[in-house]
Amino acid sequence: MATSSERSPPPFPEDLEPEPDEVGDQDSDDGEDIFLGTDNPLEIKMDPSLSASDITSSTKPLSEASSPPVMDLLSEPASEASSAPMVDLLMEPASEGSSAPMVDLLMEPASEASSAPMMNLLMEPASEASSAPMMNLLMEPASDDLKEPPKPDIDPLADIINDTPLSEGKTPVAAMPQEPPSDLFDDEPSELFAEPRQSNTAKQQQTSIFDEPDEDLFSEPLGEASKKPQNDFFKEALAPVAKASNVCGPLSDNYNEQPTDIFTEEAITTLPSAVSTVSVNSKTNGVHSDEEEPDIFAEATVELSLDSPRNDRKKKEAAKPSASASAPAPSVSASASKPQPKTLEEVQYITLEEEVEDKFELNISITNPEKVGDGMNAYMAYKVSTQTTLPMFRSKTFTVRRRFSDFLGLYEKLSDKHTLNGYIVPPPPEKSIMGMTKVKVGKEDNSSAEFVERRRAALERYLQRVVFHPSLLQDPDVREFLERDDMPRAHNTQALSGAGFLKMINRATDSLSKMTIKMNESDVWFEEKLQEVEAEDQQLRKLHIMVDSLVGHRKELSVNTGGFAKSVAMLGSSEDNTALSRALSQLAEVEDKMEQLHQEQAASDSFCFAELLADYIRLLGSVRASFDQRMKTWQRWQDAQNMLQKKRETEAKLLWANKPDKLQQAKDDITEWEAKVTQYERDFDRVSATVRKEVLRFEKEKARDFKKQIIKYLESLLQSQQQLIKYWEAFLPEAKAIA
C-alpha cells in the first residue's frame, strides 16, 4: 500500500511472521466460517472503541444534518490537543501500535504467494450484492485492529472477519469508529475530527472529491463487473460503503505482491472506468488525472495527519486525501448533497501540479557558459533559456544571462522565505574557489573545461528542481530570475565576505541550539524519517566517495591503457615477425580506443552518478534543515507555553497577594501569551504538515531522479560495452592471422 509503505519505515518485525500462514489457512475455506469465528478477542478489547463510538455517536446526528454547530462541537476536542480523549484514543492506536501490526499483517501476505486467495475472499463477498455483511466484515477489521493494537499474536485477520456484523452494522455510530480503522493505514483520525471544523465550502469540496477516489479504490478490488450493484448500494449507505471500500482497497492492495506499484497501476487502469460508470462527480474526475491518483494517495498520508489544517492550501490538500481515505460523518450528508465545483484555487493548484508532474509546461536549460572579463574579476555567465506555456510568464520562450552568484542569490532569497515554513529548498552547487580560480586564470585545460561543464549541469539541475517545486515556482523571485533581463547583482554570496562570515556564525549558533533543544517527539513518523534521512545521508556520502574513487581509478586506467597502447605499439614495431608485428600494432590500436572508452566512462561515472549523489547529499542537507525548522517552531511553542505558565503563576500570586492594580496587566499578559501559544502551536502544526508533505514530495522526486539518472548511467555502461565488443571483434581475426 502506498501510504503505509511510505510512512512506516521498517516496523515489520519478525514476530508477526506467523500471520501469513494463518491467513493462508483461512483462504482455503469459505469466508463464512471465518467470519463467524472468534468473537472473544473483540469483546475483550471493546472498551476503547465503545467509548469512541459513544463520543462519535453523540456527534453523529448533528453531522448528518451537516449543520455548522456540529462542526464546532467536533472541532473543539480536536483543537485542544491534549484534551480530546477521542483524538487520543483514536490517534494512538492508529499511529502507534495498531499501525504496525496492521501493516504487518497486510504487508506480509503481500510478499507471500498465497495472497491472491485472500483477496478473493475479500472480494467475493464484496461483489455479491449482499452488501451489509460484507460491509461489516470489511469495516470491522479496521475497528478491531484499532482496539487491539498491542496484541499481535491473535490473528488480527480472523478478528477482522469474524467480528460483528452484529453490532453496529449500519448505524452511523458504527460508521464512526470504523473510520479511524481505515486510517490505520494513515493516521488521519485527527483529521477526521478536524475536518468538520473547516468552513462549509471546505467540507463540500472534500465531499465532492470524496466520491471519486473512493470509488476508484472501490472499483479496484471489486472489479468492473461488480461496480453496478456497488453503486446502488453506494447510494443507500454511502458512508459505510465508503469505509468498507476503503478498508477493502488497502487490504486488497496489500495482498498484491507489490504494494506500491500496484496501487499506482491499478489506479491508473481502473480510474477511467470508474469515471464512466460512476459519474457522481464528473468535475473532480476530470480534474484528477490518472497519474495524479497515486500522488493523491501519498499526500493523503500527510494531510490526514494534520491536527488542524488551517490555511487554505492545506484545506485543499486535506480535502483530497480525505477523499481517498474516506470522509467520516460528513460523507453521509455528502451523499445527499450535490458535489460542488472546486474552488478556483483548488483547480489551479491541481492543474499546476499536473503540469509540474508532466514537466512539459516548463523547460529550462542552461547553455553557453562564457567567460566574462579578465583576471580575478572574471566570471562565468550562463545562458538560462526557458520554454513554457504557463500563463504566469510573459512569453513562451525567453533567455537571460546569469552568473553563478545570481544562482546563489536566488537560493538565499528562496531559502530565507521558505525554509521558515518547512519547505525543502533545493540547494545550488557549492562554490569552488579552486575550480573557479583555474577558470579565471584562463587555463584552457581539460580539468577547467570539465569544471565548467560540471557546474553548468549542476546549475541546470538546481534550477529545474526549483521550478519543479509547485510552491517555489510561484515565488516572484523565481520568475524574476528567469525573466528579468537586468538582474541586480546578488550580494553577500562571496564565500569570504563579511556576510559570509556572519552566516557562518549563524550556522554555528544554530547547530549549537539544535543540540540544546531536546524535543520529545510526539510523532513517530518524524522521528523515523529523520533517522532514515540521517542514515541515508551517511550512506550516500559513502557511496559518493566510492564513486569518486571509481572515477579516479577509471581515469587512471585510461591513462595506463594509453601507456600500454604505446608500449605495445613499440613492441610491435620491434617484432620481426610481420604478422605478429601487425597484430601487435592492431592491439595497440584497440588499447588506444579503450583508453578513450575508459575516459568517456569515467566522465559518465562522474556526470551521471557522482553528480547525482552530490546533489542528493546537498538536498538531504536541506531536508534536515526543514526538520530543524520544525524543531525550532516546536521549541518556540514550548517556550511560549512555559511563558504562559509563568504568567499564570504570576497572576495567581497577585491574586493571592491581592494586588488588583497589577492584576489587569497580568491578565493582559496571559491573553497575549495565550494568543501566542495558539499561534505558535498553529505554526508548528503548519510547519509539521509542510515538512511532511515536502519530505514525501522529496522522496518521490528522489526516486524519480535516481531511476532516471541511474538508468542513464547504466545505458552509458551498456554503450561502452557495445563499443568494446566491436573493438575486440575487429581484433580477433588479426590475432588469428598471426602465423
Binding site: S5, E6, P9, P10, T260, D261, E528, E532, A535, E536, Q539, K542, L543, M546, V547, S549, L550, H553, R554, E556, L557, N560, T561, G563, F564, K566, S567, V568, M570, L571, S574, D576, N577, A579, L580, A583, L584, E699, K702, A703, F706, K707, K708, I710, I711, L714, E715, L717, L718, Q721, Q722, L724, I725, W728, E729, L732, A735, K736, I738, A739
Partner: protein, 393 residues
C-alpha cells in the same frame, strides 16, 4: 590451500608422449609452496612410468642454476626460472583487513575478505602455472630433457636438500652479475661477423627493453582495472545498504542496481584477471625468455671474443715462436666452443622465434575471445537490468 591442475597457459609447447610433466597439485604452507610434480614417461631411465614428487620453489631454482652452470648447455636458451612466489602483498592486506575489522560493517568485511581471497588464489594459480611452464619447457627441450639433474628432480622422492643461497654466495652472485653485465656491454660492442647473430643481437636488445616496458605498463593497467572492479564492488554493497534501509519504493531499485553491480564487478574482475593471465603473464614470460636468449648471445659473444683473443695469442706465439702448441690448442678449444655454441644457438634462436609467435598468437586469440565473452556477458546483464528498471518506472 589446495589447488588442482593449473594449466600452463603462457607458452605453447609441443607435447611429447615420451616425457610429460605437470604440476598436479600445490599446497601453500605459510610462506612455502609445495608443488606436486607429476611425471608420465616412457623413457627407460625412469623406474616407473608414472610418478609424483613434492618440490619447492628452491629446488626449481637449483635445477635452473645447474643448467646455467653447465658448460655443455652454453649454446642453449636455458628456460627461465620461475619467479619466487610472492604472497607478501596480499598477506599484508589480509593483516590490514584483520586490523580494520572493527571499523567496517559485516558486509564490507566479507566483501573485502572475498576480494583478498580471490587475489590470493590468483597469485597462487599464477605461481603454480609459472613453475609448470618451466618444467614443461625443460621436458620439451631436446637436450635438457635428458639432463641427469632434471631426472633426479623428477624422480627422487625425497627432499633434494637444496638450501637457499647464503649471504656470501648472494654477494658473489651479485658481483658476478656486475662483471657479466659490464662484460656484456663490452662483448656486445664487438661487431659480429655473422649477420644472423648481428641481427638477433640488435633485435633482442631492443625487444627485451620493449617487452619490459610493455610488461610493466600492462601491470599498471591491470592494477587500475582491478581497483576499478573493487570500487564497483564497494558501490554495490553500499547500494545494498541503501536499499535495505530505505523505506520508499526506491529500495527495490537500489537493490536491483546493487545486484547488477555485484555481477558486473565480478565480470570486470574477471576481465582484469584474464588480461593478467593472457597478456601480462605472456609479456612477463617473454621478458624472462628474451633475457635467457640474451644470455645465450652473451655466452656466444664471450666465446667469440675468447676465440679472437686466442687467435691473436696464437699469432703472437707464432711470431715469437714460443708456446705455439699451447696457443694452438687453446685456439682450437675456443674455436670449437664458439662453433658449437653458434651452431646450437642459431637453431635455438629460430625456435625461440617460432615459440614466441605461436605463444603470442594463442594468447592474443584467447585474450580477444575472453574479452568478447566478458563484454557480451556484461552487455547482457546491463540490457536485462535496464529493461527491468525501465519496466518498473
Amino acid at each position: 590451500m589446495l589447488f588442482d591442475r593449473p594449466r600452463a597457459v603462457n607458452v605453447d609447447l609441443q607435447t611429447d608422449a615420451t616425457l610429460q610433466v605437470d604440476i598436479s597439485d600445490a599446497l601453500s604452507e605459510r610462506d612455502k609452496v609445495k608443488f606436486t610434480v607429476h611425471t608420465k614417461s616412457t623413457l627407460p631411465n625412469f623406474k616407473q612410468n608414472e610418478f609424483s614428487v613434492v618440490r619447492q620453489h628452491e629446488e626449481f631454482i637449483w635445477l635452473h642454476d645447474s643448467f646455467v652452470e653447465n658448460e655443455e648447455y652454453a649454446g642453449y636458451i636455458i628456460p627461465p626460472a620461475p619467479p619466487r612466489p610472492d604472497f607478501d602483498a596480499s598477506r599484508e592486506k589480509l593483516q590490514k583487513l584483520g586490523e580494520g575489522e572493527g571499523s567496517m560493517t559485516k558486509e564490507e568485511f566479507t566483501k573485502m575478505k572475498q576480494e583478498l581471497e580471490a587475489e590470493y588464489l590468483a597469485i597462487f594459480k599464477k605461481t603454480v602455472a609459472m613453475h609448470e611452464v618451466f618444467l614443461c619447457r625443460v621436458a620439451a627441450h631436446p637436450v635438457l630433457r635428458k639432463d641427469m639433474n632434471f631426472h633426479v628432480f623428477l624422480e627422487y622422492n625425497q627432499d633434494l636438500s637444496v638450501r637457499g643461497k647464503n649471504k656470501r654466495e648472494k654477494m658473489e652472485d651479485f658481483f658476478k652479475n656486475v662483471v657479466k653485465s659490464a662484460d656484456g656491454v663490452l662483448v656486445a660492442g664487438v661487431k659480429d661477423v655473422d649477420d644472423f647473430f648481428e641481427h638477433e643481437k640488435t633485435f633482442l636488445l631492443e625487444y627485451h627493453n620493449r617487452v619490459k616496458d610493455a610488461s610493466s605498463k600492462s601491470d599498471r593497467m591491470i592494477r587500475s582495472h582491478k581497483s576499478a572492479a573493487d570500487d564497483i564492488n564497494r558501490i554495490a554493497s553500499t547500494l545494498y545498504t541503501l536499499g535495505t534501509q530505505d523505506s520508499t519504493d526506491v529500495c527495490k531499485f537500489f537493490l536491483k542496481v546493487s545486484e547488477l553491480f555485484e555481477k558486473t564487478r565480478k565480470i570486470e574482475a574477471r576481465v582484469a584477471a584474464d588480461e593478467d593471465l593472457k597478456l601480462a603473464d605472456l609479456l612477463k614470460y617473454y621478458l624472462r625468455e628474451s633475457q635467457a636468449a640474451k644470455d645465450l648471445l652473451y655466452r656466444r659473444g664471450r666465446a667469440l671474443v675468447d676465440y679472437e683473443n686466442a687467435n691473436k695469442a696464437l699469432d703472437k706465439a707464432r711470431a715469437k715462436n714460443k708456446d705455439v702448441l699451447q696457443a694452438e690448442t687453446s685456439q682450437q678449444v675456443c674455436c670449437q666452443k664458439f662453433e658449437k655454441i653458434s651452431e646450437s644457438a642459431k637453431q635455438e634462436l629460430i625456435d625461440f622465434k617460432t615459440r614466441r609467435v605461436a605463444a603470442f598468437r594463442k594468447n592474443l586469440v584467447e585474450l580477444a575471445e575472453l574479452e568478447l565473452k566478458h563484454a557480451k556477458g556484461n552487455l547482457q546483464l546491463l540490457q536485462s537490468c535496464v529493461g527491468v528498471l525501465k519496466g518498473d518506472t
